[in-house]
Amino acid sequence: MEIPFAITLDVGTSRANHTGSWRVERPVYVDRMPPCNNACPAGENIQGWLYEAESGNYEGAWRKLVEENPIPAIMGRVCFHPCETACNRVQVDEAVGINAVERFLGDLAIEKGWVLPDAGPDTGKRILVVGAGPAGLSATYHLRRLGHHVRLVDSAQRLGGMMRYGIPAYRLPRDVLDAEIARIVAMGVDVELGHVVHDIEQERSEGGFDAVFLAVGAQLGKRVNIPAGDSSRVIDAVSFLHQVADEDPPLLGRRVVIYGGGDTAFDAARTARRLGATDAVVVYRRNRERMGASGEELEQALGEGVTVRWLSTVNKFEGDRMVLEMMRLNDEGFPEPTGEFEELDADSLVLALGQDTDLALLDQASDVKVEDGVVEVMESMMAGASGIFAGGDAVPADRTATVAVGHGKKAAHGIDDFVMGRTPVPKERHELATFDRLNTWYYADAPRTKRPELEKIRRQTNFEEVIGGLNEDNALFEARRCLSCGNCFECDNCFGVCPDNAVIKLGPSQRYQFDYDFCKGCGICVKECPCGAIEMVPERI
């Protein structure tokens, strides 16, 4: 229509007015490091695979997961999940059950027979991996993906290292362990079991290996000098659990005392209960707050009838009499003897005081530095400059399977750089997505899905798995509790809340972009972004 001058206007003409010039700050989309990812020793992209799981794309989630960690079904059981401790959702209600979802995905993968990605194109490089525990298996997996030939050797008769010989079956069923290991081996790995490496340099040169990864673990249980009669039965926890794993359990009697406060102590106590001990008493010289074991582990142990004597040390063990000395914590929190004693009837004592590493194979490797019984390594996990890499319990770090998996991955990349003659490029680390960056209003209120627990009575008598898994419904639910901290999950908030229509939606999984022609820089998008994936930066004038 022929419209009257000035009083009537054609629609949409205001787009000629570029209000972007009003802006003094501009919003930009960012990807921040989610605290779960940040806390994961295995370097998993947890937020990433949860994102896939949220839509029910479990295979996609699993594939994203195994990018970093090839053994999620195992990790989903044994990981002490620092991710959940770090999870921002703790401050809303409870942490997302990452570990449970991981296990669900791992189990589903086994059930569905999903296979790991193919090995990379052959590089012609040969790598020796010593030790088939979590670090060695992880390194093997990543090295194979990078196209390197891997020879995996272990002194034991079966693969798995401490996962098999240190972790009781009720926590990690052997079929799960076997399935995930088999999947790695199926990538094409040269495995030799029952093989003890005495001299690494010799082994390396004889085998013509371009690099070596030492993942020998810490298999030697620490002993302390406790006056004990000949008749008294004393065993270290590592040996105890190893023998149980080899289905040759030692006879400990009905009253078992376990000395120590770490997870191993409780594993031993719970195993003892399952082997028929009526009393499984953990003796620990500090209090509950300072205990090394996870609270979850303690709760489960207590639930199974394990008892704990806090602030106590084993002073003497003779016959079936054990003397405990009472301790108190000094101002620095260290335990001091009180001079007060108590007696306890015991048939055996299990020492769970930590493990040492057997590094005899390094005796000839002159440029590898060993200190305090562990191998010193660089950022790339290389010990010295010789192409010898180390990880897992053999290097200074927390001795957990998850840390070991992380080491394995890191070492694999270090080895890759080394054998391919590349200078390692430090990875850019994103700023942490802290809780204050989030707008939690937008997340639905939801408590965490409890993992079903077996009847207490059942777990006292057998090695059936204590903690059940999630089913498809509650795994989805749990995945959807993820806040996606610091990473856009396409909630359309920025697109919707912009008073100036200055956000362009690019379509599914394409995210958004700002239309700076019109963005006035009000910052509502930043404030209303649930996950903190937008930030304001000053406009350069």
Binding site: M1, I3, P4, F5, A6, I7, T8, L9, V11
Partner: protein, 421 residues
């Protein structure tokens, strides 16, 4: 068909013939009979399709008309006096938006003092609003003007106000030839808006216009009114050719040939003036009348042409600008620029005071003697005014003048005047 009919009824029936689609009604004397009659026709289904909306104020009435007109409907309303002032903001707005609304203004005085009777103060108050203002001399013309008004309004996208004297015309029963539907339909094509709210072709109507274009917008509105100076006589002629009736147009002269004195006026008083002129002509006085039908746009050229031969021009007007004098006179004076003439203003008939033929005859006689003052108030009770001024001089709390004057004339006790509306 010629019928003996009340003026309001004649207008209502004629408006109905124009097929208005939205009619908004708010009661105010003396306009009420018109809108009531239209309402009955709508409710009875005689006027259809048409939405008859009983609004809560004149402001709303004009606003509803604005909305309807902008949506492409032919919109009509009617009002008077205070009602016009109450809708004033919307009156300006309708014109500013170029919406061809037609409104009947049953002219009535503006209070205080409250007064329901006829004068032209209301029309004068909105003369600058941008509406075309046509004044009817008789009920026949009032009726005819409505048909022409819709035609004019819609041709030019300018609202038109048909002014008819309240009570004097609206309540007078006299013979009016009501047009027939087929003629009106042929004379007045369906409303084709210049701009319309259409979901298929959206526009924004009513933008804020700043200094950079406001003057141009207003000048364009002015040009449209100048266009109307051409269209008004053309439409009137077309109407006359078809009906044989001389209704509308810009100005109409009566016995102006060889006139020394020309009386200028608006509306129904022209009839009484004509009678007085006839009598004075018989007495040998060379006097004539020029009636202005189109007050806005003001036909300056036509007025000058009609008046330029007269020795004396007497503007008789039912309104005045307090503190100055005539309103119409000012326009006439502007029109007469460059022509030597004696211009006299006679304010008459305020608040319904009767303008009698006798007073007009006397006025003509006085003018003939060149004794008419520049500004005269016809039949003003100078004594009452002087006495009130004396009272005001004597005491600070002299009370309200309106009541004092009524008491002075012995027409009021202490009770207030009761409105007849």
């Amino acid at each position: 068909m010629l019928r003996q009919i009340e003026g309001s009824r004649a207008v209502a029936e004629t408006v109905a013939l124009c097929r208005p689609e939205v009619v908004c009604a708010y009661p105010i004397s003396p306009q009420t009979h018109i809108i009531e009659a239209v309402g009955v026709m709508v409710k009875a289904g005689e006027l259809a399709p048409c939405e008859f909306i009983n609004v809560e104020s004149e402001f709303a009435a004009m606003s509803v008309a604005i909305g309807a007109s902008a949506t492409g409907a032919r919109a009509y309303t009617a009002t008077s006096s205070q009602g016009l002032l109450f809708m004033m903001e919307a009156v300006h707005n309708a014109a500013g938006l170029g919406l061809p609304i037609v409104m009947t203004l049953a002219n009535r005085a503006i209070g205080a003092p409250i007064n329901i009777w006829n004068d032209h103060s209301d029309a004068m108050a909105v003369r600058d609003a941008g509406w075309i203002q046509l004044f009817a001399e008789s009920n026949q013309e009032a009726a005819d003007l409505h048909v022409q008004a819709f035609r004019l309004a819609e041709e030019l996208s300018v609202p038109v106000m048909v002014c008819m004297d309240g009570f004097i015309l609206t309540h007078a029963v006299e013979g009016v030839d009501i047009l027939d539907q087929s003629f009106v339909d042929s004379f007045l094509p369906p409303y084709e808006p210049r701009q319309v709210l259409d979901t298929n072709d959206p526009v924004s109507i009513g933008a804020m216009v700043g200094p950079e274009a406001f003057e141009e917008v207003k000048y364009l509105a002015h040009l449209r009114q100048l266009d109307a100076l051409v269209r008004i006589p053309a439409i009137a002629k077309e109407f006359a050719d078809a009906t044989g009736r001389d209704s509308g147009g810009l100005v109409r002269s009566y016995r102006t040939e060889d006139a020394d004195i020309l009386i200028v006026a608006l509306g129904s008083v022209l009839g009484t003036i004509k009678d007085a002129v006839d009598i004075r002509r018989e007495a040998g006085e060379r006097v004539g009348v020029v009636g202005i039908t189109s007050f806005r746009p003001f036909p300056a050229e036509a007025v000058r042409e009609a008046l330029c031969q007269a020795r004396q021009v007497v503007v008789v007007e039912k309104a005045f600008s307090i503190g100055f004098g005539g309103v119409l006179s000012t326009d006439v004076a502007m029109a007469m620029q460059g022509v030597e003439t004696n211009l006299r203003t006679v304010v008459a008939g305020l608040g319904g005071r009767s303008i009698t033929r006798r007073s007009l005859e006397e006025l003509i006689e006085t003018a003939g003697r060149d004794e008419l003052e520049t500004l005269t108030f016809l039949d003003l009770d100078h004594g009452a005014v002087e006495r009130e001024r004396a009272r005001m001089g004597e005491t600070r709390r002299s009370g309200p003048s309106a009541e004092n004057l009524l008491r002075d004339r012995g027409t009021a006790a202490t009770a207030p005047v009761k409105e007849q509306a």
